[in-house]
């Protein structure tokens, strides 16, 4: 029986379709799957967890002035978030004091933000005069808040990185001979080297 031209063409097309080999396609897919599985397993078991620390840390009315202690020195991170609200609640003489402290703190934060490269490399040797000024500012702010009956208290929070104890001990030595430090609460927390600081975190909250 003679086949029609249309049936012949259809059979030819079907034969052509069946001859397409899917093996290269499959092998690429299997390779991708293997690599992805490997990366997934590797990241969940061996890679150290990267944790970012927030720039602003507070607990109720207590707000942390964070000092990160690294082998090369310290990174100071003063709180500025609530200073405008505090300024609005105090009398005119104290408004100026708070504005001055806020200006200096913002300058210090901006200096950190401008630092090129990893923020963790921005550590500097703890300077006695700077530490004394920090302690004085915290005491002044706490006293103003207390005088104005405004619920706000700053405290010093030390983050201790591996080999960062030296800088911490130096600051505590300064604190033990400074009158301003007597009334300031202190906290300290051990930090791992893969816990990095993120200046943008907590800013918008």
């Amino acid at each position: 029986m003679a086949m029609s031209r249309a049936t012949k063409a259809k059979r030819y097309a079907l034969d052509q379709k069946l001859e397409v080999s899917l093996f290269p396609f499959l092998s690429i897919f299997l390779c991708v799957m293997g690599v992805l599985s490997f990366i997934n397993v590797l990241s969940s078991f061996s890679a150290p967890q990267k944790i970012e620390l927030t720039a602003q840390l507070e607990q109720g009315y207590k707000v942390a002035y964070q000092i990160f202690n690294l082998p090369d020195g310290i990174i100071s991170l003063p709180p500025v978030k609530h200073l405008d609200q505090l300024k609005a609640a105090v009398d005119d003489a104290d408004k100026e004091t708070i504005a001055d402290i806020k200006r200096r703190r913002e300058w210090a934060i901006n200096k950190l933000k401008r630092h090129s490269g990893s923020i963790m490399n921005a550590a500097t040797e703890p300077d006695v005069d700077d530490i004394v000024e920090v302690l004085h500012d915290i005491r002044v702010i706490n006293e103003i808040a207390l005088k104005s009956n405004y619920l706000y208290e700053e405290f010093l929070l030390f983050g201790i990185y591996p080999n960062g104890g030296q800088a911490y001990q130096k600051i505590r030595d300064i604190m033990s001979f400074t009158q301003d430090a007597r009334t300031i609460s202190v906290g300290l927390e051990p930090l791992d080297s893969n816990w990095t600081l993120n200046l943008k975190k907590g800013e918008s909250k």
Binding site: D15, L26, F29, V32, M33, N69, L188, D192
Partner: protein, 212 residues
């Protein structure tokens, strides 16, 4: 006609698996980046509780029997071995001591091989557990001298993990804890506040998760 095996369904399964894996990897990445840990904010606070001292180094924790340590230090001092800020053996788990007018007795942890590892806290009958269980939360708190050195390139200080584990354990037993970082240049020291204002040992963490 050639009798070829159809690979359509297999291709379908494999491509679906790849797609799921990609989605899983992306979700994992996003989830990891957005994870927020609320660390307990530690605050040193005055207390009437007495400190029970520990040293944490090389993932090990040692209970400091202060009675024994000071007795041994006094013996060394009377025999003249402790004069001129000399470092002397305390005959206590590889600890060495030094007597200083300002710092009281300083402790150097040289050999930690006999100290219990912090993993022993998971064992019911371990000596470390017994030592921590011996703290009376109504009368005492735990104070840790934690070595912060990480010479082997580890992400944590040599005593950090041990301290965190012990702190967590003690929190569950309503025991307050305090700590300070130490190292060979700034060793652990125990002294009276009348010596120096630095001779103060305060708890930072509340026992029992009161300040979560």
């Amino acid at each position: 006609m050639k009798d070829l095996i159809s690979l359509d369904s297999l291709t379908d399964i494999v491509s679906n698996s790849v797609g799921i894996l990609i989605i899983f990897a992306v979700i994992n990445l996003i989830h990891d980046n957005n994870k927020t840990y609320q660390l307990e904010i530690p605050l040193e606070h005055a207390t009437d509780l007495r400190p029970v001292f520990f040293i944490a180094k090389n993932d090990r924790i040692l209970l400091m029997d202060t009675d024994k340590l000071f007795r041994n230090a006094a013996l060394q001092a009377t025999s003249g071995a402790a004069g001129g800020k000399r470092i002397f053996a305390l005959d206590y788990f590889g600890l060495f001591g030094q007597i200083d007018k300002e710092k009281g007795v300083s402790f150097f942890a040289k050999d930690t091989s006999e100290w219990p590892e912090f993993h022993e806290l998971d064992k019911r009958q371990s000596n470390l557990r017994k030592a921590l269980n011996g703290i009376d939360p109504k009368k005492q708190f735990a104070y840790f001298f934690v070595y912060d050195n990480s010479d082997d390139g580890a992400t944590a200080g040599s005593g950090f993990e041990a301290f965190r584990k012990a702190r967590e354990y003690l929190k569950g037993h309503l025991v307050k804890t305090g700590w300070q970082p130490v190292n060979s240049d700034a060793p652990a020291n125990i002294c009276d506040e009348s010596f120096s204002p630095r001779c103060v040992y305060l708890p930072s963490y509340l026992g029992g998760g009161v300040n979560k």
